[in-house]
Symmetry: C2
Subunit: 129 residues, 2 copies
DNA sequence: TTATATTGACTACAAACGTAATCATTAGCT
DNA sequence: AGCTAATGATTACGTTTGTAGTCAATATAA
């Protein structure tokens, strides 16, 4: 039986997720650091990034540790955990909880290339040991 | 190259999705029909269902055809298309667009049971013909 | 024919979200 | 010492979402 993981953080919105992604990639960062990366991409102002960071702190998805007169922000949840949560949510909502159905769907819809198929096959072989 | 499908409807919210699910299962239905199924499950009032239905019409996700003094609502988008959109969105957001990465993730996280693995393997074999 | 039940249209309203501006503080430069 | 730039806190404001209530029209039952 696998451990059922209940999320300790509130649901993260789309915009908030973009900020998380930066933190996961860069690791601990200041608001300015995050903006440097994300503001050009999304055409956001620094103010927007700050708002999102504080909302993420409120939601328990990141922590803020004082560093001089600013904060450094770090993810509380690992990217892999988040990915897991979201994947599971999708499988539950759309595939009746059956992950294999998702895979079947991807395959049928040709979302999987031939290379993907080969790769997956190899993967399965390994997992079955 | 697979046809890239751009969604003709606006983004559907969580609550709206629940209504879609009923329409997909029951097919064309009146507001009362939908409520009969969904209201007990979600503890909604009929008014809520009506609001969601009209928002879905606005968003172009369903159509309303007059039937006497009421409407019958039908999905415009097929469930499979919706599922495809959502799956693709997840793969793009979380797995850099690589569906195989999603499968790998599911497998590693043991979201896939042994039975699933066998099932998928059979599926792959078939797809490779 | 009159009361009632049903239906969509319209309105409501708080919470979440996207996107920021303003402000007070303070660190650093001149 | 005074000015400037950076920073978090606070406030703002339009939109979307969740969840309904109300109302006018009309079909139906008595």
């Amino acid at each position: 039986m696998s451990v059922s993981k209940s999320p300790i953080h509130e649901r993260i919105s789309e915009a908030e997720y973009a900020v998380m992604e930066v933190l996961w990639q860069r690791g601990t960062s200041s608001a300015a650091d995050v903006c440097e990366i994300i503001c050009p991409q999304r055409e956001w102002s620094l103010a927007t990034v700050k708002t999102l960071l504080s909302r993420l702190v409120q939601k328990g998805a990141i922590t803020a540790s004082p560093d001089g007169r600013r904060y450094l922000y770090s993810p509380v949840i690992a990217r892999s955990d988040y990915v897991e949560e979201e994947s599971q949510r999708l499988v539950d909502r759309l595939f009746g909880g059956k992950a294999a159905s998702l895979v079947a769907h991807l395959a049928e819809r040709e979302a999987l290339s031939d290379a993907d198929l080969v790769e997956i096959e190899a993967l399965l072989k390994e997992l079955k040991q």
